[in-house]
């Protein structure tokens, strides 16, 4: 591991540089420290950074080259040596620069600003990484599998011997069905809860109920998944599906939808709560002053005024529902089919991404690569929903500000 040793050594050099730089700054200042342009610590830091940054740059470049396969891992020794030489040179230059007029603080601050700027670019790099990896592997997939058969195929039967049918339509149907049920549960409950809490509830009730609903938001989705698997699924099977003759499956669209609906309640309610509270009090006072009851005020004045924001909140919740994984993996089942019966097991895009990518996967077969195409579809759908929702919410906010 010469690279990590080189890294360690450059950190040591930087620490040494800090001490040397500081004491040299004191020495050049003579008896009166105020003669220096910058405080001695800045001189020390500037030397340390001068030693560290070139070494880090060399090491970073070396690791990138190694990952892309341009150089062999054995060249690590060379790279480490170059990095150390760079660190020593940087140290030397840094120490030489020190003088009474040298503006060490400005130099250090410029370097720190650069680091801050680099950190903020990570978000863009992440997005680029997501898009690139998805697009790249999806392209690979479409070379092996016809894109028309993927987007319009109504059959999903992956076989690892080959000759699989990988149509996204049944998965899309399952995803939409589960999300629709989840929204049917979450939107009315969340909305009514939000209205009650912002318009009716006393301070005490609000202080108790609001955190309790937020607890629902803090519970990991795997917990909801297990709840669907061990409680809701068997309950629906024994008391609804079997007596009604609608199926015999412990996992079903309704199970996943109900549990996901519970998960989304706090999401809908806290977003709508914010939006309802943003409606100016004067509108309410006007309606109440004209003699409407509180519920008429809410229905005819507050909700219409908050409507765009609530639509945005619902869209955000929908994007959550579509991208949710663990609840559907444990609750909805794995059978890719298109049926209207909500008590039957169906499957979703996220479930199939998990099942195609876990276990031993061969990155040259369409059965594995299809997961990237599914991921790209999911990414595009949720991104579109988010963008539309954000635009609506933002537009609405400006209205009353």
């Amino acid at each position: 591991m010469p690279l990590s040793w080189a890294l360690f050594a450059s950190f040591l050099l930087a620490a040494a540089g800090y001490i040397v730089g500081r004491s040299r700054a004191f020495a050049t200042a003579g008896p009166d420290v105020r003669k220096l342009h910058s405080r001695p610590t800045y001189h020390g830091t500037s030397v340390a950074l001068a030693a560290l940054l070139p070494a880090l740059a060399v090491l970073g470049l070396a690791s990138v080259l190694r990952l892309t396969g341009v150089v062999t891992p054995e060249s690590g020794l060379v790279a480490g040596t170059i990095a150390l030489i760079a660190a020593v040179l940087g140290l030397g230059v840094g120490v030489m620069r020190i003088g009474q007029e040298y503006q060490a603080r400005n130099v250090v601050e410029r370097m720190v600003l650069g680091l801050l700027m680099l950190s903020s670019l990570i978000a863009i790099v992440t997005t680029a990484g997501i898009v690139l990896s998805l697009v790249f592997e999806t392209g690979h997939f479409f070379q092996l599998y016809d894109w028309k058969a993927f987007f319009f195929g109504t059959e999903w039967t992956p076989r690892f011997q080959g000759n699989s049918r990988l149509g996204i339509v049944p998965l899309l149907w399952g995803t939409m069905y589960v999300s629709a049920i989840a929204l049917l549960v979450a939107v009315p409950i969340g909305l009514f809860a939000a209205v009650y809490m912002s318009e009716y509830a006393s301070r005490r009730v609000r202080g108790f109920v609001k955190p309790a609903i937020e607890v629902l938001a803090g519970i990991p989705t795997i917990v909801y998944g297990l709840f669907a698997l061990i409680t809701v699924g068997p309950l629906l099977r024994d008391y609804f599906a079997q007596p009604l003759g609608l199926g015999n499956s412990g996992t079903s669209v309704l199970t996943a939808g109900l549990v996901m609906g519970i998960m989304l309640i706090p999401f809908v309610s806290s977003l709508s709560d914010d939006i309802i509270n943003a409606v100016p009090q004067s509108l309410r006072d006007g309606a109440l002053g004209l003699g409407s009851t509180p519920s008429e005020t809410v229905r005819q004045v507050v909700l219409p005024a908050a409507l765009p924001g609530i639509v945005g909140a619902v869209l955000l919740a929908a994007s959550r529902a579509i991208g949710e994984t663990m609840i559907v993996v444990l609750g909805a089942g794995a059978a890719a089919q298109m049926s209207l019966n909500p008590l039957e097991a169906m499957t979703t895009i996220t479930v199939k991404i998990v099942s195609q990518l876990t276990g031993d996967s061969d990155f040259n077969s369409p059965e594995t690569l299809v997961a990237f195409a599914l991921g790209l579809t999911l990414f595009v759908i949720t991104l579109a929903l988010n963008v539309v929702a954000l635009i609506i919410v933002r537009k609405y906010r400006e209205q009353y500000e």
């Binding site: 990896s133 009716y200 609903i213 629902l216 709840f227």
Partner: protein
């Protein structure tokens, strides 16, 4: 001034002049609608509360069994002829003796115990007696003997794990009726277990091993624990803490304090808010493509999980840190600049320390989110069956490990229903960690929050 007549005729619906104390039909209808509307709100809140309570009680009651474990207390005669055929007590030689031999020694010990208590049960087979104890028990005894070879030849008291079905019987999961249909146990075996329990040989105790053991194979739910998963989760949280916090805080400082209002800043901001809403499984795909396939990092390693979770939590941390920085009033910055500090000094010496409580709270909540995240970890191979503990830091970051939520998923995929109990138990452990983190966050906020 105006020529509108004061008494302009208005279309007033013809209403009978009634008493104010007597509501007319319309008022009644409006008041009823008002009550109904209120009721809907109460119902909505009640449903969410009930859902929360049912969710938690189901998990707690299903998982509490994992924290108790039944043990059979038996004297085992460690026969030197079987366990140390060479007779020289050399650990290297003794390590060659397989677990199967220890199994035979244990079977004899169990049979002796049953005979000693003179328990007679009709139709009880020898297999029933031998299967009373877990298959893990022989490994348990072997480990202890290899650690202390002097035990050989003596008769030592052991608390050995009972089999999964026996354990389930004492927790109410297995009944006589279900045992009759089960090929792994029989009503006779359960009767025997009950007799032994009556005589105080089988006891149910708190199960520390659940917190320290590694995962166990499909046939041995009684030996499975979350030790490796806790350690793996801990390693991942360390990676997230070391990477996400400095990068997130640095990015927030830049965006909040230094960034010029231009197009690039706009793009970065839109990007961050979009990243916060990207489904977590997409981050898993990114991790698989970028860190495992492209960068060649090992599968199932905490470092990869940590990197993926870092990218996932960065937006959360950035958003909360920016809110905390924004809450520091501009007068602080102006005062610092006024006495001659540079912009950088005003931020690092004054604004950042004041925003610290808010940043910490946001960070802890982001970490809690990352701790419970499952989907992306499934894709980077954390579902693998891991029996060995990862090494200490930093090398352990590269070793295969599990994570708490993934371990839960893993156990739900096993056929033995005893694993559902284990999965719920693991969730309790996870929820306890989350609870601690959230309480810490709330405490920090209460203690250090300042109103300006």
């Amino acid at each position: 001034m105006t020529d509108i007549p004061l008494s302009r005729p208005v279309d007033v619906p013809d209403r009978k002049p009634g008493s104010l104390l007597q509501q007319d039909a319309r008022t009644k209808a409006r008041n009823a609608a008002e009550k109904r509307f209120r009721l809907y709100g109460v119902i909505a809140i009640a449903i969410s509360m009930i859902a929360l309570v049912v969710l938690l009680t189901t998990i707690l009651s299903a998982g509490s069994g994992a924290f108790r474990q039944t043990y059979l207390n038996i004297p085992v005669t460690l026969d030197a002829a079987v366990l140390d055929p060479k007779g020289n007590r050399d650990p290297a030689e003794m390590a060659k003796v397989l677990t199967v031999s220890y199994g035979r020694v244990l079977d004899a010990a169990v049979e002796a115990t049953v005979a000693r208590h003179n328990i007679q049960i009709e139709g009880l087979s020898e297999d029933d007696i031998d299967n009373l104890i877990s298959k893990e028990a022989s490994a348990q005894v072997r480990d202890r003997v290899l650690a202390d070879p002097e035990l050989i030849g003596q008769t030592v008291e052991f608390d050995v794990l009972t089999g999964g079905r026996i354990d389930g019987f004492f927790k109410g999961r297995v009944t006589m009726e279900s045992a009759a249909r089960d090929s792994n146990t029989s009503p006779q075996q359960l009767q025997l277990a009950q007799e032994l329990a009556n005589r105080g040989e089988i006891v149910t105790r708190f199960n520390w091993n659940f917190l320290t053991n590694a995962d166990a194979s499909d046939q041995r739910p009684e030996a499975a624990g979350v030790g490796v998963a806790i350690l793996g989760s801990l390693y991942m949280m360390l990676v997230v803490l070391v990477l996400a916090v400095p990068i997130g805080v640095a990015a927030s400082i830049y965006l909040e304090e230094f960034a010029p209002q231009n197009r690039i800043t706009d793009i970065i901001e839109v990007n961050i808010s979009n990243l916060a809403a990207v489904p977590s499984i997409v981050f898993g795909i990114l991790g698989l493509a970028a860190f495992i396939n492209f960068a060649g990092l090992p599968q199932s390693a905490p470092i990869v999980g940590g990197l993926v979770l870092t990218l996932m939590t960065l937006p959360t941390i950035i958003i909360s840190t920016r809110a905390a920085l924004k809450a520091v009033p501009p007068s602080i910055r102006d005062a610092a600049l006024g006495v001659g500090a540079s912009k950088m000094q005003s931020v690092f010496h004054h604004v950042l320390p004041l925003a610290m409580p808010g940043i910490l709270t946001g960070t802890i909540i982001g970490l809690a989110q990352a701790l419970g995240e499952t989907a992306p970890l499934l894709l980077i191979g954390m579902v693998a069956f891991v029996r060995n503990f990862p090494d200490g830091l930093p090398g352990g970051l590269m070793d295969p490990a599990s994570a708490l939520p993934v371990q839960v998923y893993n156990w739900t995929q096993r056929s033995d229903p005893a694993f559902i109990e284990r999965a719920s138990g693991a969730i309790i452990v996870l929820l306890v960690f989350l609870l601690c983190m959230n309480v810490l966050a709330i405490w920090l906020r209460r203690k250090f929050e300042r109103r300006w």
